[in-house]
Amino acid sequence: MNKKYDAIIIGAGVIGCPISYELAKNGYKTLTVDKLADAGMGSTAASCAIVRAHYSTVDGVAMAYEGFKYWLDWENYLGNVKDEKGLARFMNTGSILLKSQGHDWRKVKSNYDVVGVDYEEWSVERIKEAVPVYDLHEFWPVRRPEDPKFFDPPTRMLEGAIFCPEGGYMSDPALSAHNIMRAAEAHGSEFLFNVEVVAVRDDGNRVTGITLKDGTQFDAPVVVNVAGPHSYKINQMAKGVWDGCNIKTKALRHEVMHVPSPEGYNYLEDGYHTSDGDVGCYYRPEVGNMFLIGSEDPKCDPQEWVDPDEFYAGKGGQGRDNQLTEAQYKAQSYRCARRVPDMQIPNQPRGVVDLYDCSDDWIPIYDKTDLPGFYLAIGSSGNQYKNAPVAGVLMAELIDKCEKGLDHDKEPLQFKLRHIGRTIDAGFFSRKREINYNSSFSVNG
């Protein structure tokens, strides 16, 4: 006899764990399985874990702003559970969005107004006061250092910035997933590690369970794909699911650099998370007084789509495996150093490489599928860490309503964001949607 659960969650990352947590709170007996050794060890572990509200769509802003409220109130969200590893911490640095040609900041500002996000408009002088190490010239368009024009001296100044006092990053993304796992366990959720799902079973009508690599089977009327960069592989295991998705997901390689702050400047204590479309980078403080630098996917950067299994095994080859490349190290650190000219750039690259589970329009899929009982929380596209607790609530509600008869494809769930009080049409995240051209088609979502 196979062991039975009310719901099986594939993937114990920062998005899988809150889904287990919320389902368990709603009385579901859940099993979460992961092929790695612990919660948050997948792409979550390498996440920059930045929590900021600027998105190019109103619903994107609303979800993120709702997410803030969970991070700001972390212990309560977790039900004050104890975690032997300690609790992750929200580092509320505040978030600077530089006004530049690299961001549609006017749209962001109007989205902020619609959602009611707390923000200030900063002049160049005000930014300089807050972050004296920034050079606020305009460096647009974004180029790579291989392009001789990269080094051209700038001539104009930027306009200013939009500053959100709420915003920052979580100190340890893997730990945050672990914290949520402990909270879920406190409500009876079970977690099983070092097991790989190789099949999603169905009875011809609906999903019935999963099969692991060693042949073990678990049964459940609900199975949720939260496999991060492997999401497309899991979708291909479930009958009709891949073909039923108008929006597909695939794995995109992303490098993040750690570069020492200018001498004498305490970026770790005094710095702000900054989104800098003008140089195609985002950056935030990192332990060791480092700038942690990610790319905002400007057109000049190559997109490296990879097979996640080859990537994690280090077998994809240069630019396709889990090693930093010199070219991208230089591209990101030199670009950031245009803004922070005294930044120190070691010869040896330091940082992390991981995968985005990227959807066609860089907006996630939180949805049911054409296989009844099989659900998706995928396509996080490098920008859903901050939304993880909200995604947990959304998915638990969606699953419960659909299992009780809601036809979400016809009448999409209207999802109320508890903290900010706004209702969003969950159809926004549908797998059947047409590509959303309001998206920035980048990590900015």
Binding site: F151, P260, P262, G314, G317, Q318, D321, Q323, L324, T325, E326, Y329, Y334, A337, R338, P341, D342, M343, Q344, I345, P346, N347, Q348, P349, R350
Partner: protein, 275 residues
């Protein structure tokens, strides 16, 4: 050829004040890269290469000596494939004044490297000091500095933890195996192999990197240096990857006890210099 070199070298130090400091640098694989062996004796070079970290100490020392005297020229020299030019650029960004790239189509052994360095340096000017790192992290040969000094018939000290310049000599301290130190005075010109403890190499900033783009790098093919072919060469027949065995160690006890034990093991077995 060697005698001629000697003839040029000696009088130079005595009669001139401005210094020529040559820093020999090597383009090596990043220690963080995953090295794949593709043939019995080749690695897949499609990985990050950079300025040999030990040579960063040599470049730093040269740049600091330059800061002490206005009239000093710091010249970075490398022998290697075309890609090695990036390592010269790194040295220039750290403050070297110009670079010389002896271009090869292969990675030569330390005999040929030392002869190529010697020929390139002599062709370029008259050295007062030649600095190198204590070793290159790829081959770990510890040979080139000695072969270069022998080829030039000048003194050499390695593992150097401090350098004091006198009029026409330098006084250096050299680390010894057992933890002791030796203080050595050498007439210039001489070769110094720098230790990690000598200094903390600076990290260049983007303005340094931009400035370095305008600095001169002279390229010369190894074939044009007419170096004397050695009677015998070292040949790497096979490379084998180090097998990393992970051993789990459990530390039991209260938090205080286990932290104390962890520190003890890190300092002892892992040889991590914790203070």
């Amino acid at each position: 050829m060697f005698d001629a070199a000697l003839f040029y070298l000696r009088p130079h130090v005595i009669i001139t004040d401005p210094m020529n400091i040559y820093v020999c640098v090597k383009h090596v694989p990043d220690s963080a890269a995953t090295i794949r062996i593709v043939e019995p004796n080749q690695i897949d070079e499609n990985i990050t290469f950079l300025l040999n970290p030990y040579d960063e100490n040599a470049v730093e020392a040269a740049v600091q000596l330059k800061a002490d005297s206005d009239d000093t020229d710091v010249i970075a020299v490398t022998v290697g494939k075309p890609a090695a030019i990036d390592t010269l650029k790194s040295a220039l960004a750290m403050g070297a004044d110009r670079g010389i790239h002896v271009v090869t189509g292969y990675w030569p052994d330390s005999i040929v490297t030392a002869r190529a360095l010697q020929a390139a340096i002599i062709k370029d000017g008259l050295p007062d000091l030649i600095l190198t790192g204590k070793a290159a992290i790829d081959s770990d040969g510890y040979q080139t500095q000695f072969r270069l000094a022998a080829a030039l018939d000048i003194p050499v000290a390695t593992h150097v933890g401090s350098i004091a310049r006198n009029d026409n000599s330098v006084t250096v301290t050299c680390g010894l195996e057992a933890g002791g130190e030796q203080v050595i005075r050498m007439r210039m010109p001489c070769v110094i192999g720098t230790a990690k403890t000598l200094n903390t190499p600076r990290y260049p900033t983007l303005p340094d990197i931009i400035k370095a783009r305008k600095k001169e790098i002279r390229e010369v093919s190894i074939d044009h240096l007419a170096i004397e072919p050695p009677d015998s060469r070292m040949e790497i027949i096979a490379l084998k990857s180090a097998v990393q065995k992970r051993r789990k160690q459990m530390i039991a006890g209260s938090i205080e006890e286990s932290v104390t034990e962890l520190i003890r093991r890190l300092k002892g077995e892992a040889r991590i210099p914790l203070s």
